[in-house]
Amino acid sequence: MELPETIRKRLEGFSRNVLFDQTRMWGFSKENDAVLSHDKRVLSSLPLQMSLYFNMWFFPLWWISETVMLHFKYPFLSDYYKFILVTVLLLMTLFEGIRLYLGYMGNLQEKVPELAGFWLLSILLQFPLILFQLFNEAILIQPLERGVHIVLAIFILTQAVAGFLALRDMVSHTASQFHLRQFD
């Protein structure tokens, strides 16, 4: 299952222009003038892949804990928080599934748009939701919830950092490949 073409183009443009400075990178790759043949370095990031793999195994544990805790505290919540928490749980499940799939595709197959999509989903959507779950005392945070949310927050943080590094390496590599191809 591939991302639709328009989304891929937008994410690729975003990675190249907004995230990383083109002029600085081109100067960086000019230092490797000796390597005129195509670079065969593996660009998949090991820390990112480990984080994604263990996150995938941890996700059912998180989901069951969160659903059971929500079920138990549901009668004690105010009406608007009942709606908000059910929505947040559905959204986090959806985002987590899409995020982990895109992260796997982007990292293992070294595809920039998928990895950029994964990184944006993690930083902009999943991270605020997990902070909401951790720090908003009005939703009656239970000790078990604190435990599983802390673990998930650590996963999202490591993926944000490792994902950024992997994305930067991948973008600079594909840019230098594009420029070097002119000499073929």
Binding site: M50, L61, S65, P143, G147, V148
Partner: protein, 140 residues
């Protein structure tokens, strides 16, 4: 090796389950502290017992840090014996701590659980650290 491919996530999940229960006990330790005290107790007695439980939980977290650093750095991730020992120890710890929490056991029992189920894997982890970084043996 298919055994490795299921041992690594199993070990990870049991470590995380143990960690989550330790964090849960940290936030709801009141009943366990009261179970260790006589029926009539003063605030100082409560505070000192509470302090002991906090210290025990902090030591557990420190041993977790040692074991997780060894696991994620690759030193012991693919070592079958350590994986088996760790999975068994942390699974028993999770069940024991579940009873500790729900049945409101006393503090003395926590020290026993700590010794068997947290110290043992951490000590083997340190031995592996010394073996890999000190004696330059292969991590497997």
């Amino acid at each position: 090796m298919s055994a490795i491919s299921s041992l690594v996530p199993a070990r990870f999940l049991t470590i995380i389950a143990h960690l989550v229960i330790v964090i849960t006990i940290f936030w709801s330790r009141e009943n366990n502290v009261k179970a260790s005290l006589p029926l009539e107790f003063t605030q100082e007695q409560y505070d000192s017992e509470d302090q002991k439980l906090v210290v025990a939980l902090a030591v557990t977290l420190g041993l977790f840090a040692i074991e997780l650093s060894g696991f994620f750095s690759g030193v012991s991730m693919f070592n079958c014996s350590q994986g088996l020992l760790s999975t068994g120890a942390h699974a028993s710890a999770s069940v024991a701590l579940l009873f500790f929490l729900f049945e409101q056991w006393e503090l003395d029992i926590y020290w026993a659980i700590l010794a068997i189920c947290s110290v043992l894997p951490a000590v083997v982890e340190i031995i592996l650290f010394v073996g890999v970084f000190g004696l330059k043996k292969k991590p497997l």
